[in-house]
Symmetry: C2
Subunit: 450 residues, 2 copies
């Protein structure tokens, strides 16, 4: 066992106690509960291991920035978020969400996997390396935000205004979860997102349904508009929607084909009879990674209680989220959507947007890939599956598109983490594997980066 790994082993209980302090501090960004206190607690824990730390105020919640630099060495930027989802419904928790406990090899508590334990692995990796060798093998910067669960509104302007401060050779962070089989992952990208709300009002108030011979019904208009967006083969009908979709490279296609995949078991898991056809295949992972989506997340109009009411609704609305793949641009697609529906005769739709996130994908042939693969393999005893991107969305584009820096995600939580749900947990060994992986990554990059 290496010196830094031994250090972690020896200080296991203290490290856990430090993590628990972080988990005990609520930091619910959506309702401003304890976020500032959590930022200060996190900053103290960074300062204690020798990281030069500074708290930046934003319009809402602070950004905790830290650095430990070594002249002439590559710079690694670690991203993470210390804010958490609200814990409700409380009655479904087996133990209180902000009183962390270990049960059956898992650390239970709100924010355990998402994202406090996973971000804390890097702070502890730095401590172990410094305590073992007196210094780091490379420069490390930390960027921990408190607004991820509310859509990271301050992160983009902060990045644009602090390009020099955040300059680095690559970004690495830990979020999401490893494969069900226990295989680790190396994630190279995230999907983008365009989340729109469509709303049609045809009259000032609901009417008696007998007037349906003459009074327009917004629910019909919405149904017609939506059915113009996507046909029954699930192909999006918005002109030019697919124009900028990057075809997968042979290496990317090869990586996805290696993801373990039992279609029947997966269908059984989701409780569905058949997977949807993609444009080329029904292969679950090929479509999850390479295909954009157009999803009705919600639709409502008229009377939705039990029984019947003969009403002609006055208003109808739908929430539609598009998951975008590189190089689709959410702003551009929002324009295409509106043009198309206008041309189809739906000029009466009012639009709102809930989020616009650009997709991101670091090239699979980037020179950091073999270094990170090796670093992860050494800890997990097996090489990571490589996802060119996963199905979810997030702020990676701020690194890849704005800071022009490659970005990699190395998850340590397990697939049963229940993030955003009651009884969120972080696998106990996953946490310590995470610290050892952080050490391993820093050593690999410090030695191998060219």
């Amino acid at each position: 066992m290496s010196k830094p790994d031994q250090f972690v082993e020896i200080h296991r209980n203290r490290i856990l106690e430090e993590l628990f302090s972080l988990l005990r501090q609520p930091s619910i960004s959506t309702r401003d509960e304890g976020v500032k206190e959590c930022a200060e607690l996190l900053a103290r824990s960074m300062t204690e291991v020798g990281i030069t730390t500074r708290i930046f105020e934003t319009e809402r919640h602070p950004i905790v920035y830290g650095e430990m630099l070594r002249e002439g060495k590559p710079t690694l930027l670690i991203y993470g978020h210390y804010d958490v989802q609200p814990p409700e419904p409380l009655e479904e928790w087996s133990s209180p969400p902000f009183e962390p406990v270990i049960r059956g090899g898992k650390i239970y508590g709100r924010g355990s996997s998402d994202n406090k334990a996973q971000l804390f692995t890097y702070v502890k990796a730095v401590e172990a390396l410094v305590q073992s060798f007196g210094s780091l093998p490379l420069s490390v910067k930390f960027l921990f935000e408190g607004e991820e669960e509310i859509g990271s509104p301050s992160l983009k302007p902060f990045a644009m205004n602090n390009r020099e401060l955040l300059r680095s050779d690559l970004v690495v962070y830990s979020d999401s979860h490893i494969h069900e089989s226990g295989r680790p992952l190396l994630i190279l990208g995230l999907k983008g997102m365009l989340y729109v709300e469509l709303r049609i009002r045809t009259s000032p108030r609901d009417q008696h349904s007998m007037r349906a011979t003459s009074i327009p019904n917004p629910a019909w208009r919405l149904v017609w508009a939506l059915s113009a967006l996507k046909d029954r083969t699930n192909r999006v009908r918005i002109p030019h929607f697919y124009d900028k979709v990057l075809p997968p490279t042979p290496l990317e296609r090869e990586a996805v084909s290696q993801i373990p995949y039992d279609e029947e078991a997966l269908r059984h898991h989701f409780g569905v009879k058949e997977f949807l056809p993609g444009r080329e295949t029904r292969h679950y992972y090929m479509n999850l990674v390479f295909e954009p989506t157009c999803n009705i997340a919600g639709i409502v109009s008229g009377y939705i209680g039990s029984g019947s009411k003969t009403v002609l609704p006055s208003v109808a609305s739908a929430k539609v989220d598009f998951r975008l793949v590189p190089k689709q641009d959410p702003q551009e697609i929002f324009g295409q959507l509106q043009n198309y529906l206008n041309e189809e005769g739906f000029e009466d739709i009012e639009y709102g947007t809930h989020s616009m996130i650009e997709p991101s994908r670091t090239p699979i042939d980037h020179p950091a890939v073999p270094l990170l693969r090796e670093a992860v393999s050494r800890v997990y005893g097996q090489s990571p599956l490589i996802f060119p991107n996963i199905g979810g969305s997030g702020p990676n584009y701020i690194f890849t598109e704005i800071l022009k820096t490659p970005c990699f995600v190395v998850p340590h939580a397990t697939h049963d983490q229940n993030n955003h749900a009651p009884n969120e947990s972080m696998d106990l060994e996953g946490f310590f594997k995470g610290i050892r992986t952080g050490i391993s990554i820093m050593l690999q990059l410090g030695e191998g980066w060219r």
Copy 2:
């Protein structure tokens, strides 16, 4: 002034007090509140004027039957309902719903226009005729139900099991309202109704929306199914839907063309820019009377709160009501609907029905029409507008289709009656005009029926 009209004038205050007793008695059928007590009160008021009255129990609320027969004379069956809608929201009433008061020439109270005052006009007409002449000019039967506001579930079996008891030459009743201009109406029919609920479930639970590449979305399937039902020109696409629609006769068309109609004022009243195209015309009344509808009364799936949630729903449902015209059959159209959607590939839809009501329309050239027109004209000083049918639905088919008896509706409420809403009212003079019209109808039929 005729003797019976004089009688009504002299006893005006007592008659009003009797009506108020009826209005003070709640009779909310949907939650069994005071319905039995109201039936007994109504039966007593009928017995008091000499009507042989009997209360029939049903599976839910009693039917009050009465008769006053004259050998060798035509028989008039008066229909009505003594149950009322729930009064909620109570805070929107200017005076308590079951404490009737007169303000500005209107009797305010739940059930005032719908239907207690309007049915009571016939009881008082009988009293006035008997007190004036010693007997009625014809035989009169009364059929007052306590379940109209919950869809008249007992009326059809009662009619089928009591054909002899209910045998009559024609049915007349008063419900709905006169024209905005003050012109009285003679209504010859009602639309039918097929109210269905469509439900699609694609998986056992909601999923993260990133899985939309492979997991079917029931909201999309529902949108596609609905858009197959009706196209953007508002034409129903169910094969054979229009096959049995009776084309209007020249007389019916002529009657509808005489309904006063200011399209711009009407559009302004409803707050809509343009009326929908019918199959032949945009004429409001032509379409209201002669065209069937297919209306989305409600649709819901997924997340419908404020803000956004990236969910892939597991279930979607819609409530759709069809207003049917003679001779469309709700049962048959329900079958056509299911066949069509099955053929279109939507075998996964589950169906429920909330109501099936047959349309009804008494021929406009029926010999009672000129008699009733004359009877109404004498009271109102102007001849009634004739509606071959109105846009609403109701139990008339039980008379026209099951008992094979012509059926006529003569409204006395005004268009601002607020039935089914807070501050329901009955026009005070409309009530007394109603009694005089009842007298006039009985005299006309007694003299003129061949």
